[in-house]
Symmetry: C2
Subunit: 422 residues, 2 copies
């Protein structure tokens, strides 16, 4: 059956495949409601997908679709030519407008696809300052996203520079075609009925989430066969595991990431101890950070190294008090289709769904029982971290073992060799 379905998908034209991704993004990713407004962000290279998404949004009854494009070439021009004080500035009037749109009922979709290595030759100091300025200006809008007050989703579009990094040495058109193919497959749109395919996938994730929630683990212990990681991640009091779809504060059921393979929850910001080695490189704000190693003591990173991008890493964790603590821990089996593809995407949306991971910075308040209604103080008291940043990085892989540890210290094997034990 799966083979037959896959071959029907394979027989579609590229335009038809793109159209299906757009439809899944609007109907399943956003669950866009009739009369709702949509605010879309996208790289200029993603224009063909933007057009398909816009059409499906209007067909689904969108009142208005507004797209804000980012452009790698103009971003780079800023680093090359703008005066120095530009890098401490972000247009608050713009980010405030985004927040205002969310407050007035808009849904939000982001298309990922920027060049993951765009800024690798730029001054890390400027990159970091610009990132901090945006994080501050974006905070009011970002809070509505991390609190899931609105329905939102992220999908990806293959773009030339990104494809070149993922499939080095291939001619541009071949690399882009291969990346699109990888995106279509990872996004689970290849069966004859992607809605049913997503429902089934969501039920599988939900079963796993329910199991983890029933366990009420006190902490997780990540220990790898290669001895490069032995990290105990305490979980927040009243933590809640999540995965797959979520019902946003506005009542709309959405899938915030396409693809999504993770079960994730909120760690306790002061109860992380041990050492950890990243299993995949990380692209953060156009800089590649490779072979991250960190030591944690009582929740805090006390030492961080990387074989590439170390300066960017250290600037990142110096953003604010919460930037050197964890805001998310997530379990992803090595048997997930993205991991099985063996492709390193250099893009968090995909790589975090190919491996168990942790995130520095802001926690999701929805990953605490009743968290969406709590004040920042109440959240912090339970152990939820607060920061301007939220940066996922991958620690899982075929050598990773994970135990669930109960309050009394009893360790139950959850994952062995990167996969679920059951």
């Amino acid at each position: 059956m799966a083979t037959a379905s896959a071959s029907v998908f394979a027989s579609l034209s590229f335009e038809q495949k793109l159209d299906r991704l757009a439809e899944v993004a609007v109907r399943i990713g956003l669950g866009l409601k009739e009369g709702q407004e949509l605010v879309l962000t996208a790289p200029t290279d993603a224009l063909p997908l933007v057009r398909r998404i816009t059409e499906h949004a209007y067909k689904a009854g969108a009142k208005m679709v507004t797209t804000f494009f980012s452009d790698d070439a103009t971003t780079l021009a800023r680093y090359q030519f703008a005066p120095d004080d530009s890098f401490d500035y972000a247009p608050t009037w713009y980010y405030d407008a985004i927040a205002a749109s969310f407050k007035s009922g808009a849904a939000r979709m982001a298309i990922a696809g920027a060049n993951p290595a765009l800024l690798k030759s730029q001054d890390p100091n400027k990159v970091s300052r610009a990132g901090v300025a945006v994080s501050k200006a974006y905070k009011p809008a970002m809070e509505l996203i991390t609190r899931h007050e609105i329905n939102w989703t992220i999908v990806a579009a293959a773009t030339p520079k990104w494809a070149e990094l993922v499939f080095p040495g291939e001619p541009e058109d071949v690399a882009v075609a291969k990346l699109w193919d990888a995106i279509f497959h990872a996004s689970r749109i290849t069966s004859d009925d992607p809605v049913a395919q997503w429902r089934e996938h969501g039920e599988n994730l939900k079963r796993r989430v329910d199991f983890l929630n029933a366990k009420r683990f006190h902490s997780l212990r990540f220990h790898s066969d290669d001895g490069k990681t032995d990290l105990t991640v305490g979980l927040a009091d009243n933590h809640l595991w999540a995965g797959g779809g979520t019902t946003a504060g506005n009542g709309i059921y959405c899938q915030p990431n396409i693809p999504t393979e993770e079960c994730f929850t909120t760690p306790h910001k002061d109860r992380v101890n041990g050492f950890v080695t990243a299993s995949k490189p990380l692209s953060h704000q156009g800089t590649l950070i490779e072979n991250i190693q960190c030591d944690f003591v009582n929740g805090k990173i006390v030492k961080a190294t990387a074989t590439a991008g170390e300066e960017a890493l250290n600037k990142l964790i110096a953003t604010d008090e919460g930037a050197r603590k964890l805001g998310e821990v997530a379990l992803v089996p090595h048997a997930s289709p993205i991991a099985e593809s063996g492709i390193l995407f250099w893009n968090t949306l995909f790589d975090e769904n190919a491996a168990s991971h942790i995130a520095l910075g802001q926690a999701y308040s929805t990953c605490l029982i009743g968290g969406e209604k709590m004040s920042d103080e109440e959240l912090a008291k339970l152990g939820a971290n607060e920061s301007l940043i939220h940066v996922d990085w991958m620690i899982g892989g075929p050598t990773m073992n994970v135990d669930g540890v109960s309050e009394d210290g009893h360790a139950e094997p959850l994952m062995r060799g990167g996969n679920w034990c059951d």
Copy 2:
């Protein structure tokens, strides 16, 4: 000399020509100040020019360049698929942000280039309603533009659909290349020193403006040899002629239109009488309006016809009380380079600089002595019109004669056969 200069320009690569247009737009059009922010609007097809402009803006010291792209295909998708009540909606949160950017010191540049006939097959009722919704939402930002409180400019980029309309029957690449060439020439960037070229042009316009201001005419009478127009346009009390560059309220000298060939002022909203026939078709919000004929009585259009787009025209003048009255009158000699090219651009930025014209709707308060500091009531008392719209249409051409009429009724010939008498 002019020939030698032109041939140097002709020897430049397309990229170099584009780069020069961008530099002129930033340095002469905007007069962008060091540390100033730039808000740019552009069609997606204008991305190469956007990139050149962004680079020159940062080189000139811009703190931040933010570009908002419009896309003809997604605009069309809205008309084809959006629910009906979409057309009474405009995202106020977006237009408010634009106004906020202006208030916080941003300069504004618009790149013209959308398909002039994009919406010609769409329901004129929807087109009109959408236009009214945008005009209302955009009003706070638009006022800062019409009052010249900030430095702003408009330039153009050749795009395939526009080029197809201007050069029908040509292959797309040929049509686009021809349109770019026409834009480069009309924009006066073809000499070795475009800055000097623009200074000289500005001084010529200034001489004409000073002459007209010294005359203190009571009205202008447009009467064509072909008998199709005999229109008396009363001028506002304390009217001020303008042309070429202007010093904005923020103290920055800018050229609001590239190209610009017009001397323009504020007519008296209640003192326009006679009949007038458009000399060129008009593209308004993606609809083509051809062979406009209007009868005016005491400032008001009492009858309006067109051989194409008549419904759009009548909806336009029904926008509000001021939409059927004049807010601008402008004199452009038929000897201007744009008129001499013989090209019908179907774009107001060019066509209004090829022929004397009038504009329905909002008056420029800067075209009244001390007007930029006056209240709406004070402006109205002097005869300045107020409306959500400002739509220029062309009435001049080789058969047009214009007299300046003094308070006592003495008529002085200003233009004969479309050109200045002196």
